[in-house]
């Protein structure tokens, strides 16, 4: 090993290759910035696969009856779409890409606490992704259980379930290791003087997220192992013919998978909390309240899993309790929305692409959140359960929440990551088309669900036709916007005009280092003085 003094301080991480050359200098790099980009590129690829599957589903639903696929294929398509999007994109999304890239810089560290473990997490992630792909390409048919792998169908179906289940387990392991790494990094590597209450909000949201990843993922891990063993050996724990209880599976699954929703949304909220003050040129309103609400969401989020199972068979007391707890989560979420709006109040707003994404995030998050209260209430839940309404709510929160925040974050941090600026006009056009398509795609689902159209069917009654056409058209418009956004970013990463160290006049630490950052981030570790805070705008 060479001594660290040989690492140049004036070479950016994009140029410095270290021990290996070319592609190897990326896939064996332990630099948190390169690992962040590795995740970005692998997720982008998998995301496009997921999008194509989504488009296929919407195309099938353009007319009643069979359009392009049979019922069995439709089941496989929505299952694989769900598994890819949930386990490979939205759960690891913001933490793995922007968390890896920005967390160490934002807290004034040279890297994460365990750089090798960080690289291992990426390799585990890729292994998990390959396992899922194997289940699609080989065996007796693609998984067709839905991404929830509900018992007993998940061990009765003839489809090739084992690689998919094992893949989800492996992806969970990657998620656990990333979370572990971030917790230790935040505890041990904050810059001198950066106390907990001086840490920016994106690292705070990563901290809350990491704890959920750590404490919830093992439970779904063991549950998936049990399903796999049930399939191989028939141990009986979830098999009613052997005395097992399938509802126990649902409980164990949602004990993880509901908190997982907060793994998705908390870092998304964290990124928005960075973008809004920067483009309002004003310190964030209610910093401490935002921190507390982050932790409150993480904590209360553990105790609401039962609201996925209101119609599965539960005592009345349990139903009331889960419903009330679900309503409680809305409080810290709404507090965040109020704080973001209040931050804009009397700020000098600099309307740029990231701000558009952030503002539209608040809009779709609001719709998603309010429709969540509709399905969280017992009476309406029974009516809307398993209808298209739930699909609409879910996509507004998860795709609206994570997607808009992700694109906001990438337009915000892009100049820092690549040292170049993107074409703003095309970025804004892409955003506008994407947003129009998004609303056209998912809004009709609320209407369809209330009219009684069930989810997960490849066919529907003639009376649902008009709204479904609108939804399918929306999927095309949204994809067009997506293509514009992605092409614009790709072209700009290569040939955009050079960006300075601080193009947005941001106040957090990542804007104090050159763009793109040098290998070791900081020449000298920054120090926080007594009166420095995370968002000190004049």
């Amino acid at each position: 090993m060479q001594a660290s003094s040989k690492i140049p301080t004036d070479v950016s991480y994009l140029e410095y290759e270290g021990k290996h050359k070319g592609l190897l200098s990326w896939i064996f790099s332990t630099d948190h910035k390169r690992i962040g980009l590795l995740y970005l590129y692998s997720m982008m690829t998998l995301f496009l696969v997921g999008v194509i599957l989504g488009l296929a589903m919407k195309f099938e639903l353009i007319a009643p009856g069979k359009t392009i696929m049979e019922a069995k294929d439709y089941n496989a398509v929505f299952t694989v779409h769900g598994v890819i999007m949930i386990f490979m994109i939205v759960i690891p999304g913001l933490p793995a890409v922007f968390g890896n890239f920005m967390l160490p810089i934002m807290i004034g560290a040279k890297d994460v606490a365990f750089p090798k473990l960080n690289l291992l997490s990426w390799w585990i992630y890729i292994t998990g992704a390959f396992l899922v792909i194997i289940s699609v390409l080989f065996g007796d048919g693609s998984p067709d259980t839905g991404w929830t792998f509900y018992a007993p169908y998940s061990f009765k179906t003839g489809a090739n379930m084992l690689p998919a289940i094992f893949g989800a387990f492996v992806l969970g392991f990657s998620s656990i290791l990333t979370g572990l790494n971030f917790i230790v990094t935040i505890h041990r590597l904050r810059a001198p003087g950066m106390t907990w209450t001086k840490m920016p909000l994106f690292p705070w949201s990563l901290y809350g997220t990491a704890w959920i990843q750590l404490l919830a993922t093992p439970i779904v891990g063991i549950t998936l192992v049990l399903v796999a063993l049930e399939r191989i050996f028939g141990i009986g724990v979830f098999d009613p013919t052997l005395g097992g209880d399938p509802i126990l599976y649902q409980h164990l699954f949602w004990i993880y998978s509901h908190p997982a929703v907060y793994v998705m949304i908390l870092p998304a909220m964290g990124a928005i909390s960075e973008i809004i003050p920067t483009f309002s040129q004003k310190h964030i309103f209610g910093y401490k309240v935002l921190v507390v609400s982050t932790l409150a969401i993480a904590f209360v989020g553990y105790f609401v899993w039962g609201h996925h199972m209101f119609t599965s068979g539960m005592s009345g007391t349990a139903q009331y309790t889960f419903s009330i707890l679900t309503f409680l989560v809305a409080i810290p979420s709404a507090i965040k929305v109020f704080n973001w709006i209040s931050t804009m109040y009397k700020g000098s707003i600099n309307v740029q692409t990231p701000f558009y994404w952030a503002a539209s995030f608040i809009f779709v998050f609001l719709i998603g959140g309010l429709s969540g209260l509709v399905v969280g209430a017992l009476a309406t839940n029974v009516y809307l359960h398993d209808t298209a309404f739930v699909v609409g709510h879910f996509h507004f929160i998860v795709f609206g929440g994570v997607g808009f925040s992700f694109f906001g974050a990438i337009h915000y941090w892009f100049p820092k990551m690549f040292g170049r600026m993107y074409d703003t006009t095309w970025a804004n056009v892409g955003w506008l088309i994407f947003t129009i398509g998004f609303l056209a795609l998912y809004s009709p689902m609320f209407y369809l669900g209330m009219q009684g159209m069930p989810r997960r069917y490849y066919d529907y009654l003639e009376e649902f036709h008009a709204a479904n056409i609108l939804s399918t058209l929306g999927s095309w418009v949204m994809t067009l916007g997506l293509i514009i956004v992605i092409i614009n970013l790709f072209r700009s990463a290569k040939s955009g005009p050079l960006a300075g160290a601080n193009p947005w006049n941001g106040k957090t630490l990542e804007w104090t280092v050159p763009s793109p950052p040098p290998v070791e981030n900081f020449d000298e570790i920054p120090e926080y003085k007594e009166h420095d805070g995370p968002y000190e705008y004049q």
């Binding site: 090993m1 410095y16 606490a113 230790v184 041990r188 052997l242």
Partner: protein, 205 residues
């Protein structure tokens, strides 16, 4: 590349210990899921669980408990010896721990083998024909939980193997004891889980 930055200069024993503790939390929750499943079915099938537990060999179970407890002691002694810079003692104590872990697995092998001979294994026709659903569940959980625990013993053996090699090479020593300390923490966890498995399966009848 940046492992260079960190690995040589940025040695943080406190950080790696925190990391290990966090990992232990996740392991506890992993088994926690199984303990939940166990308690639900024990509650629902109290009589069948009682009957099935009679099948297990308490002597072998108790022997294995003693073996693991002693091995926990020897690995703790090994860590202390490392702090006192007694390299030879450290290595001998770690090797004893390693051997005890192997003996545990050998016992387990024979214990499971006897069950298999009696037709007791997941998915066996004998169990479906002769046993109640509660008994099938008991043995299903028995094999899953002790099997997963045995897998952890194997992982522990690998970690101890690494620690042994690194101590012999001299890269783990009194000033850089993290690998051995973490191996010890992990081994205590494996021990702790067995301390719960033993009474739940063998003693409560």
């Amino acid at each position: 590349m940046s492992q260079v930055i960190h690995h040589d200069e940025h040695y943080d024993p406190e950080g790696s210990k925190i990391g290990m503790w966090l990992f232990i939390f996740t392991e506890l929750l992993l088994f926690g899921g199984l303990f939940i499943v166990y308690s639900v079915y024990r509650y629902l099938n109290a009589d069948a669980f009682h009957l099935a537990a009679e099948e297990l060999n308490t002597t072998v179970g108790a022997l294995n408990t003693v073996i693991l407890l002693v091995s926990s002691m020897t690995i703790a002694m090994s860590t202390t010896a490392l702090q006192k810079k007694q390299k030879a003692t450290t290595i001998v104590l770690l090797e004893i721990t390693f051997m005890l872990a192997l003996i545990f697995l050998i016992n387990k092998y024979f214990e499971w083998g006897v069950k298999f001979d009696h037709g007791i294994f997941p998915g066996s026709e004998f169990m479906k024909a002769e046993m109640s659903q509660g008994e099938v569940l008991f043995f299903g959980l028995y094999f899953v939980m002790t099997g997963l625990h045995a897998l952890h013993i194997v992982a522990g053996l690998v970690i101890m193997g690494f620690a042994l090699a690194r101590i012999q090479k001299g890269t783990v020593h009194a000033d850089r004891p993290s690998l051995l300390e973490n191996a010890g923490l992990y081994w205590h966890l494996v021990d702790l889980i067995w301390i719960f498995l033993f009474p739940l399966f063998y003693l409560i009848t």
